[in-house]
Symmetry: C2
Subunit: 245 residues, 2 copies
DNA sequence: GACCTTACGTCAACACCATTGACGTGTAAA
DNA sequence: TTTACACGTCAATGGTGTTGACGTAAGGTC
């Protein structure tokens, strides 16, 4: 049972299932994404996916070695959708900002799948393509290689980490999500000045701010710091404005 | 079976299990943490925890409504440990850096609990305590309230998001984790210069850098940016050094 | 010390999960 | 037309969280 999977390229026989579906890697991934989008991350199981496809669950093992391989395929699809139609502007700040927001947005738009996907390295084409692009932005932007690599790492992990964080918030089972929201009113709103002076003093600001994602601001902070680290900033620390000089 | 759980405060009867263990919320949480530390993330299941305690697995449901409640309890313990023995130095850079690394480190040391808890708001004492401390660092450090709140949000979310990200890596089933690592050698190492010039040019640097967490550098970048945003930096953009002037 | 109440540990069962070896059918190539 | 084998199906294995029923022993009361 070791060589069960035939790679998609060399598949030839397309035998339909009892229920008439003709399976393919593509169809399976799409169905999985639809399943997750409709019924939540916990709805994704081999059995349910088999049912949604109109096939025996074990048929999936003809296409993916195990569920992990299937997950990686799903991840790559999400990464691909994030890059669709992107064009480099030539300014590294603009391009990094756009890339960050695209990655973050794409994952958050598929919260359930993002949760499964955000921490894996797939090595598939869409992923390597994204890595290549971001490294290109930094190197073409004038960052020396060792710095570019460190920045790439921090930048990508920040985008993915926040994406997962925000996706998780929207993907929580409804009960848990409401419980979390209530905590802000029930617990934080009632903390006395004596024990928690800083929370008490800033409570209205806190409640308002915590409603949105912290990523856009965190991203701007990272870009600000990168201005400082950029070789051009060495002698003449420019005022870090986006507008034309 | 609805009112199965008796809150820890009003427990009185301490009946030992067949194997002689006397259960308690505390003992269960500690045992769970030990189990994970010793045998890895995948060793934490109700059945295995029951065995480690010397009790029937279902006995746990006398103490926690479900595994989610158990993991949240574990989480509060982790937040608590992150702050143990911390003392404010008075310098906001130093204190933020220490707090960030403590939170991140503490979560990463308990990957599976971190995964569940990093995006939840518990409102329990250890959590509110941490919020209060970080807000204090920023406000005492001279950040005006609206900025302090925004920075707090970005800072905490970044620490938690990276913690979850890195925790996820160590919490992966062993096979999946190795697969991710291998991808860096098998796929990224073989990408040709023609299609992926930037990856090919920086590959050795990339491999070396991706082995560690991106968080420490991301944290330094955030601190650098905060120097720029701090009111003191307005007229005389100081050279952003940690040493004495 | 005897009695009650009931907390709580135990047992058995349920429904779900991923995975795999064996099997036979239908497809595509020869 | 024959043949090989890809691949869909079936059945079984050993894991998971969770729950209802049950009895025992612990604690409070007298």
């Amino acid at each position: 049972m070791s060589a069960r999977v035939v790679p998609e390229g060399s598949r030839q026989r397309r035998r339909p299932t009892k229920q008439g579906a003709v399976l393919s890697e593509r169809l399976i991934v799409d169905t999985a994404l639809r399943l997750v989008a409709q019924h939540g991350a916990e709805a994704l199981s081999v059995r349910r996916l088999g049912a949604a496809l109109g096939a025996d669950p074990s048929a999936l093992y003809r296409y993916f070695r195990n569920t992990d391989a299937l997950l990686l395929a799903i991840c790559d699809e999400i990464i691909g959708r994030a890059q669709e139609g992107w064009e480099a502007s030539g300014d590294w700040r603009t391009d990094l900002r756009a890339m960050g927001m695209r990655i973050h947005g794409s994952y958050v738009s598929q919260p359930q799948a993002a949760l499964l996907a955000a921490h894996r390295t797939t090595g598939r084409p869409n992923e390597t393509g994204a890595v290549e692009k971001i490294l290109g932005i930094l190197r073409d932007g004038g960052f020396p290689d060792p710095l570019a690599v460190r920045v790439y790492h921090a930048f990508v992990d920040q985008a993915l980490a926040f994406a997962a964080q925000d996706a998780a918030a929207s993907a929580l089972p409804k009960a848990a999500g409401e419980a979390d929201t209530e905590v802000w009113g029930d617990v934080y709103g009632r903390l006395p000045t004596e024990t928690h002076p800083n929370i008490a003093a800033t409570y209205p600001l806190l409640v308002a701010d915590m409603r949105d994602s912290g990523y856009p601001f965190a991203l701007e902070l990272m870009l600000t710091a990168l201005e400082t680290l950029h070789p051009d900033a060495a002698g003449h620390p420019r005022k870090a404005r986006r507008q034309a000089p």
